[in-house]
């Protein structure tokens, strides 16, 4: 224990430590019976993906039950994708809903809402949706070494530099140093394992379809289990955390059922997605990125690239 002030010695430091310690301070205002839920510390990424999944499932339930009027999914994150009915015959039924959703989605993008001056904005304001989009302006270049405005870019390393003297410096840098400089403006090379990259939904469907015939039976069993579990839990009205787990199981079920037969899946709401997956494979013309649930930033980037291509 390193005391900060040179004036304090071992003894006074110990006394200070004792006075500051909050562990032994009585906390009568705490509920002694309270136990924190397990694994409550979640990263932002986890929280967001779970929120998104929950939203998705709400939309799906509403759509399939027929009990409620279709509600505009305005989260703008994939509501349109979820509403696509793979069966062309039933497609017309979804039309009204599609329109609703499209309007709502456009509303979020343009900021126009039916009642703009109220705060009843519904689920449109989410953590992900208020994130600022990328710039449409060309970024200015600044010297990576000094920060001065830069005219030149080293063709070998990709570093911007100010003048000939800085070029000499750039040439003398080791690869690690170059990467360090590039990392400061997020332009460094990131090596990723293929495993870590989650394949997009469509690919996942294909994989399940093509290979893993051996796994089919196993997955089917899992699907059955999942269905049972789901029914039981619905009856119990379990907590959200459990719902999340269940959603994951349901996903596995989707894959399995899709691999097995699309028909079995018809009755349960959570297999809707697998139907659509099948549909997408049947109609290769359908946009793939309808299913891409990339984070906002990435989506906008691809959108930017698309726009560029068109122009």
């Amino acid at each position: 224990m390193a005391p900060i002030t040179t004036a304090s010695n071992e003894e006074t430091h110990q006394a200070l430590l004792d006075t500051l310690d909050m562990q032994k301070v009585e906390k009568p205002f705490r509920n002694p019976n309270w136990k924190p839920p397990q694994r409550r510390n979640k990263s932002l990424k986890q929280i967001l993906s779970e929120a998104q999944r929950a939203q998705q499932s709400i939309i799906n339930t509403q759509q399939n039950s027929g009990a409620t009027t279709p509600q505009a999914a305005t989260d703008g994150e994939g509501g349109a994708a979820a509403s696509l009915n793979p069966n062309p015959a039933q497609g017309s039924q979804d039309l009204s809903r599609l329109v609703l959703e499209k309007n709502a989605a456009a509303g979020v993008q343009n900021g126009s809402l039916a009642v703009p001056n109220t705060i009843a904005t519904g689920p449109s304001v989410t953590y992900a949706s208020i994130q600022a989009g990328p710039s449409t302006k060309k970024p200015k270049k600044y010297c990576d070494i000094t920060g001065l405005p830069a005219k030149y870019t080293c063709p070998k390393t990709g570093l911007h530099y100010f003048n000939a003297e800085m070029y000499k410096v750039v040439k003398g840098l080791s690869t690690a140093q170059v990467q360090e400089y590039l990392a400061m403006r997020n332009a460094h090379t990131v090596l990723k394992k293929l495993k870590d990259q989650a394949p997009p939904a469509v690919q996942r469907g294909k994989q399940a379809d093509q290979a893993k015939l051996a796994e089919q039976t196993k997955l089917a069993e899992q699907a059955e289990l999942a269905k049972q579990a789901k029914q039981a839990e619905l009856a119990k009205q379990a907590e959200l955390a459990e719902q999340v787990k269940q959603a994951e199981q349901a996903k596995q079920a989707e894959l399995a059922e899709q691999a097995k037969q699309a028909e079995q899946a018809k009755q349960t709401p959570q297999t809707k997605k697998s139907q659509m997956l099948a549909a997408i494979e049947a109609y290769p013309g359908l946009e793939k990125n309808v299913f891409d649930q990339k984070p906002f930033e990435e989506r906008t980037r691809t959108q930017k690239a698309l726009n560029k291509k068109q122009t």
Binding site: I4, Y127, G147
Partner: protein, 745 residues
């Protein structure tokens, strides 16, 4: 088109170094402010409706009663909880109290996940709330915390976070009711500027805080959350960015853990400012004139190397001791020599006596026994031994080589051996003499050359000068070529590299296919080595010898020396060649941009511990806060704040656009950077239509007004509290929406 204008190149004259800086900055101590007081009186006198207001910020938590004028508790949202091995008990420290102890500092955890404004570590959050309630003197007699709680939260808090927070408040602390609101809206409400025509106020809230920057348009006191935007950049990111900048600027200086995040944060707070014209100011930042004012020198702690200076007396004593030691050694050697001599003499005497004894022995057998005792075979051997010993006692004569002239046939075996030794000695001697002579002649040759050169110079000074200049240029060219060659070796595809590989392959192969191999000669001998240049091959294939290794290439040294000699001559005899034109002057550090960035306008001595523990902040001072205006600088793929406001104001559905720019309200710690408001105003003026009125104002206290606003909101009996019953019935994410709060999502 480049977005900047380069100044005219500075003149090549050597600049005078500046005097050492008058103000040196130092790193701050850990911000330990002592123990925060516990005050129970306010709690005892408070009514059950007195609310506890907590601004749950990421840079610091501010808490107090809503009746207070200022939050009575302010501390960083940190907790250190660990088990002390020595005391064998758990210790918990909260807030700035962790800074008093090194271990506690190391164990500190933040409420927030690094880089986001969402509460992530609930154990720490609990600790922080415990701390708040304990310090506010809540005694728990009414069952838990029997006061309503008002808390701030970031805009668009995920449902999970609010749910967990409500759960903690209602379940763990048993609060009767709780309300959540957005900090920047509280701050805006507190700084009411008065609405237009009796309605609420309208304006654009720019909240640039510790973890993120939010833009929230407010019309008639109602926030239009659908239009709100978040830019993921705040002062915490600035701290991280500056750390990375300094780490690559001064490698190894920050890695030793000498500098903590709080210290870097103080650097950001104390030295950075928002530039009014970034590109223009940046380009002038490292210019020589006025650099001493722009350059801020920060001295890190260092340890001066101890140089022991000996006095003359001490030196004398050391010398004396050394001499004494030498003398003693000599004496010892002499004594040993003497002892040996005496021993030898005694031995000789003994052997002589033995010889006499043997000769006088009565029988042959007795003589043999005597000899055997001393391990001699016969008398002859004894005789030879005695002769040898007698000979060695004679003094050594000066080296002559008498045997060399006698032919081998006339010598016996020993003679031949001695002759060989003598020949060796003689050739050594001769070689030394030859070398001496050669040296002399070389000296003479040099003198002759010098004389001739002088004569040439006297005869025709102009052509002499031009010759010298050509020689200087040639040397420079050679240096350049070698540097290029070295650089080329780094590239595998370069010709230099390929030639090198060829050479290696050639040298390693069993039957080398050298160019010099001629027919008719010994097939094993390809003539390699006959030419001195052949050996350069080994120099060429040797790479990986860096200039930093300290030992320079021999040739490198040679070239540099040559250059220096030529330049010295030119300096002496060429009137046009001045001190400024020497290579050294042109490479002078005062002209180096890198030196200006790294060391400011001061000379640098790498051996000085003090100077190598210095940080110079110059470009960083404006580079770091600029990221909010140009996030691409730090690789953030989001639009800058001005572009975001521009886009926001242009959205057709947004009501009262004109009124929004009339009141651009700045709050949050980032807006404390000098020049922030002015810069934002100027840039907005440039991009907005002419008729738009732009007025930028800053909160009275950009840091604390959020808390004050929340306190006032609580005082006014803000409708927005969720009661325990409602929470129990409607679920953890339930929220009464109000004008200063978030929307339910």
């Amino acid at each position: 088109m480049p977005h900047f204008i380069l100044p005219i190149l500075p003149d090549s004259s050597r600049k005078p170094p500046k005097t050492p800086p008058t103000t040196t900055y130092h790193l701050s101590d850990p911000p330990f402010h002592g123990q925060l007081p516990t005050d129970t009186t306010t709690f005892r006198h408070s009514s059950p409706s007195t609310a506890i207001v907590i601004d749950n910020g990421s840079s610091s938590v501010r808490a107090g009663w809503h009746t207070d004028a200022l939050p009575r508790l302010q501390f960083p949202p940190l907790m250190a909880r660990y088990t002390d091995r020595k005391l064998n008990r758990k210790l918990t420290f909260i807030g700035s109290e962790i800074y008093f102890d090194g271990t506690a500092r190391g164990q500190a955890r933040n409420i927030y996940e690094a880089g986001s404004n969402i509460v992530n570590n609930w154990d720490v959050q609990e600790g922080v709330l415990d701390y708040v309630f304990a310090k506010l003197g809540v005694d728990g007699h009414g069952g838990g915390v029997d006061r309503p709680v008002v808390m701030t939260e970031p805009l668009a808090t995920p449902g999970y976070t609010r749910k967990t927070m409500s759960e903690i408040l209602f379940e763990l602390y048993h609060v009767p009711s709780a309300a959540f609101g957005v900090d920047s809206l509280f701050s805006y409400d507190y700084n009411k500027g008065g609405g237009i025509g009796g309605r609420g106020q309208t304006g654009l809230v720019v909240s640039s805080a510790h973890m993120s920057t939010h833009l929230i348009p407010v019309v008639d006191s109602k926030p239009l959350l659908a239009h709100a935007t978040r830019l993921d950049w705040g002062r915490a990111q600035c701290v991280e960015y500056l750390t990375r900048l300094l780490k690559s600027k001064y490698p190894g200086l920050l890695t030793s853990g000498k500098v903590t995040d709080t210290q870097i944060e103080d650097l950001v707070r104390g030295h950075c400012y928002v530039s009014q014209d970034y590109s223009g100011e940046m380009i002038k930042m490292l210019e020589w004139t006025g650099l001493e004012d722009r350059d801020h020198l920060v001295q890190l702690p260092y340890q001066e190397k101890e140089v022991v200076q000996k006095t003359a007396e001490e030196l004398k004593i050391a010398e004396e001791r050394k001499r004494e030691g030498g003398r003693r050694l000599q004496e010892q050697a002499a004594r040993m020599r003497l002892e040996k001599l005496i021993q030898k003499e005694q031995e000789l005497e003994f052997f002589k006596e033995l010889q006499v004894n043997v000769q006088n022995a009565p029988t042959k057998k007795a003589a043999k026994e005597l000899l055997d005792e001393e391990e001699f075979r016969d008398e002859v051997q004894l005789d030879r031994r005695i002769k040898e010993m007698e000979k060695s006692e004679e003094a050594a004569e000066p080296p002559t080589y008498p045997l060399l002239d006698i032919p081998d046939e006339d010598l016996d075996e020993d003679g031949i051996r001695a002759k060989r030794a003598q020949r060796l000695l003689k050739s050594n001697h001769d070689a030394r003499a030859r070398a001496k002579a050669e040296k002399e002649s070389e000296k003479a040759r040099q003198a002759e050359l010098q004389r001739r050169d002088d004569a040439y110079r006297d005869r025709d000074p102009e052509s002499w000068v031009s010759d010298r200049r050509a020689a200087r240029l040639a040397t420079l060219q050679r240096i350049k070529d070698r540097d290029r060659f070295k650089a080329d070796l780094g590239n595998r595809k370069s010709q230099a590299s390929q030639q090198r590989m060829k050479n290696i392959a050639n040298l390693a192969s069993d039957n080398p296919l050298g160019r010099k191999r001629r027919r008719g000669q010994n097939p094993d001998d390809d003539g390699f080595g006959a030419d001195d240049a052949d050996w350069a091959v080994y120099r060429e294939i040797q790479v990986g010898r860096n200039a930093e290794d300290g030992e320079e290439d021999d040739e490198e040294e040679d070239l540099a020396a040559q250059l220096k000699a030529v330049e010295a001559q030119l300096l002496k005899f060429d009137p046009e060649f001045t001190e400024q034109s020497t290579q050294e002057a042109q490479r002078d550090w005062t002209k180096s941009l890198q030196h200006a960035a790294l060391r400011g306008p001061y000379p640098y001595d790498a051996d000085s511990a003090r100077e190598s523990a210095q940080i110079h902040l110059n470009v960083e001072r404006i580079r770091v806060p600029e990221v909010l205006f140009q996030p691409s600088i730090a690789g953030v793929d989001q639009a800058g704040i001005v572009e975001l406001i521009e886009t926001l104001l242009q959205s057709p559905s947004l009501a009262a656009q004109g009124d929004l720019t009339r009141d651009i309200f700045l709050t949050g710690g980032y807006t404390l950077f000098p020049g922030f408001g002015e810069r934002l105003g100027t840039e907005l003026r440039a991009v907005l239509p002419v008729e738009a009125a732009v007025r930028v104002r800053r909160a009275g206290d950009p840091v604390l007004d959020a808390w004050r606003g929340a306190a006032r909101w609580a005082e006014e009996g803000g409708r927005g509290f969720v009661t325990r019953a409602e929470w129990a019935e409607k679920g953890g994410e339930y929220l009464w929406e109000h004008n200063l709060g978030d929307a339910f999502s």
